[in-house]
């Protein structure tokens, strides 16, 4: 039997070219499914953008005044006499909270990434990585809950202030929230540094720290910047945790103990109570467009930087 196989395939060679077996159909099917999945993801995102723009456009084309929108700290959408829609205070609130979050998250996440990627080995490393990934998966409402019920009384006690729901609280919470994802990305950036660089430096007598500071970190610089930017994007777009931890009062913050309100939290809290199609409703969508553009830009920059490392 087995002797005849080569001979048979020899004579049938031409027929084989258009043979379609089960694997061929499976391959086609998987192709199609992946294609549909990819296309629908893009369509959904485009759809969302079109929807937000359409809802917000009414305000942007009718009574939108950039100087009031960006320059006024008066956010009084429900005023009976004259509603004003100035987002400056909200924008400052978001910026203050995100800024503090980064002050917390950058040292935490870079330190953790260096420890996991460069200093720990074997089992410890695997366990730490799993832990970090678990931290990244904590839902934001749980973080908000921690801010509300643990950090709040703690801040009141520790700093002797009347309210503990403020920039400090929200910044810490957001920083802790953003740190795990930043750690994961930063660790990937460190892992992408080829080991022969470390070996070369060590063979010349560099200690572990010298290897890290003079070789690994400079080489991984782009990836680390990308990690930080993605963290910024995360903090900027976060809603539930800031809503719960920031105090949610319209305020130009002058100290970390001032309560503030974030752009995202404003949308979440107010959209449900506005009449569909009203001016207030449209303004909230305009804020949505604005947030979308900012996070889009941050992610784009991070992505370009990451591509930058890949190319080298």
């Amino acid at each position: 039997m087995s002797d005849s196989v080569p001979a048979a395939s020899q004579s049938n060679r031409g027929d084989d070219f258009d043979r379609r077996d089960a694997a061929w159909y499976v391959d086609r099917l998987v192709h199609l499914l992946v294609f549909l999945g990819g296309v629908s993801a893009i369509l959904f995102i485009l759809g969302i953008f079109v929807f937000i723009t359409r809802e917000g456009l009414g305000y942007l084309t009718a009574s939108f005044s950039p100087s009031e929108f960006f320059g006024s700290i008066e956010w009084r959408p429900t005023s009976d006499t004259k509603p004003t829609y100035g987002i400056l205070a909200l924008l400052t609130g978001t910026a203050a909270v995100s800024g503090l979050a980064m002050v917390v998250a950058i040292p935490f996440s870079l330190g953790a990434a260096i420890f996991i990627g460069e200093l720990s080995e074997g089992k410890t490393r695997e366990i730490l990585k799993v832990l970090v990934e678990m931290l990244a998966a904590i839902p934001s409402v749980v973080w908000g809950f921690i801010g509300l019920s643990i950090m709040n009384p703690f801040i009141i006690d520790a700093f002797d202030v009347p309210v503990g729901l403020n920039v400090l609280n929200a910044g810490l919470i957001l920083g802790l929230m953003a740190a795990p994802i930043m750690t994961t990305i930063a660790e990937d950036a460190l892992k992408a540094v080829p080991d022969h660089y470390r070996e070369a430096a060590e063979a010349m007598g560099a200690t572990r720290w010298q290897v890290i500071f003079r070789v690994v970190l400079p080489t991984a610089k782009n990836g680390l910047v990308a990690a930080v930017l993605l963290g910024v994007g995360r903090a900027f777009g976060e809603t539930m945790a800031v809503l719960m931890a920031s105090g949610h009062s319209v305020n130009m913050p002058t100290s970390p103990f001032d309560s503030v309100r974030a752009l995202t939290a404003t949308i979440a809290a107010e959209l449900g109570e506005t009449a569909h199609g009203s001016e207030h409703y449209r303004v909230l969508f305009t804020i949505g467009i604005f947030l979308f553009l900012i996070t889009f830009c941050i992610n784009l920059i991070a992505d370009l930087i990451v591509r930058g490392i890949r190319k080298k």
Binding site: Y197, E199, A200, A201, E202, A203, M204, G205, T207, P218
Partner: protein
């Protein structure tokens, strides 16, 4: 003719976990000569070479017994500082591995590790860089682009740079693990010539798979098999008149 001994090993054995890669290696390698290490793949040439500047210790479960003496000092002794060992014993790897820094910073990298970053005047710095690069015959081709990233150089230039960056700290011993195996024939020749020129000032130990190279480019040869040293003699002697049957078989290409 009596010559100074640069490297001596006494009953050196080496394990990767449970796997023993070197068995009681006893060697004495003379100062100011090029000694090549030959033998079939997996016989422990790299392991032996990498033990000599202790870079093997990067691997978590590696362990060794016995002694390695560099100019009479046991580098495996507990009080020895790795930094000092690696200053005395430089290493060139199989794949050129310049750091992703500028050419200048590559040359100065080791110097800065050993002398600190401070107190290096720019005139002195330039002198060190020029001297090291001239020595490896690279100065003329790179002197106008010292700030360029070293990883953009050709492989030949990269490998020469990897040799150049060892020189500013004035090592005694240069270890080279198949330094030409990633290079094309003309680059191989250039690097070989360079190594040949360096031999007066350094003790050079060279791993090679290329019999012609071992024959051309070394004073002495060490033949290894399965983690043991089989034969150690003058290169001419080994190629013309090997004393062991295994050596003869290997040189004539009957295995490995």
């Amino acid at each position: 003719m009596t010559m100074k001994i640069a490297i001596e090993t006494h009953d050196l054995s080496f394990w990767y976990g449970d796997f023993q890669a070197l068995f009681d290696v006893n060697l004495s390698i003379k100062h100011g000569r090029i000694t090549s290490l030959i033998g079939p793949s997996g016989c422990g040439k790299s392991t032996l070479l990498r033990s000599i500047n202790r870079i093997n210790e990067r691997i978590g479960n590696a362990r060794s017994t016995g002694q390695i003496l560099i100019h009479g000092h046991d580098i495996l002794a507990p009080e020895v500082e790795l930094l000092q060992v690696r200053k005395e014993v430089g290493m060139v790897f199989q794949r050129p591995n310049p750091l992703p820094l500028s050419i200048r910073d590559n040359v100065l990298f080791g110097y800065r590790l050993h002398h600190g970053k401070r107190g290096l005047k720019s005139s002195e710095r330039d002198r060190i860089v020029e001297k090291a690069l001239s020595k490896v015959l690279l100065w003329d081709s790179v002197k106008d682009r010292l700030d360029h990233t070293a990883t953009q150089l050709s492989l030949e230039e990269q490998q020469k740079l990897c040799i150049a960056r060892l020189l500013p700290v004035q090592p005694e011993v240069l270890l080279m693990d198949e330094p030409c195996s990633a290079l094309d024939p003309s680059a191989t020749e250039a690097v070989e010539e360079l190594v040949w020129d360096l031999r007066d000032q350094f003790t050079i130990v060279l791993v090679t798979h290329n019999m012609a190279q071992a024959r051309r480019a070394s004073d002495e040869c060490i033949f290894m098999l399965l983690g043991k040293v089989i034969e150690h003699s003058e290169t001419g002697e080994m190629f013309v008149n090997p004393s062991c049957q295994e050596t003869a078989d290997y040189i004539e290409g009957r295995y490995g």
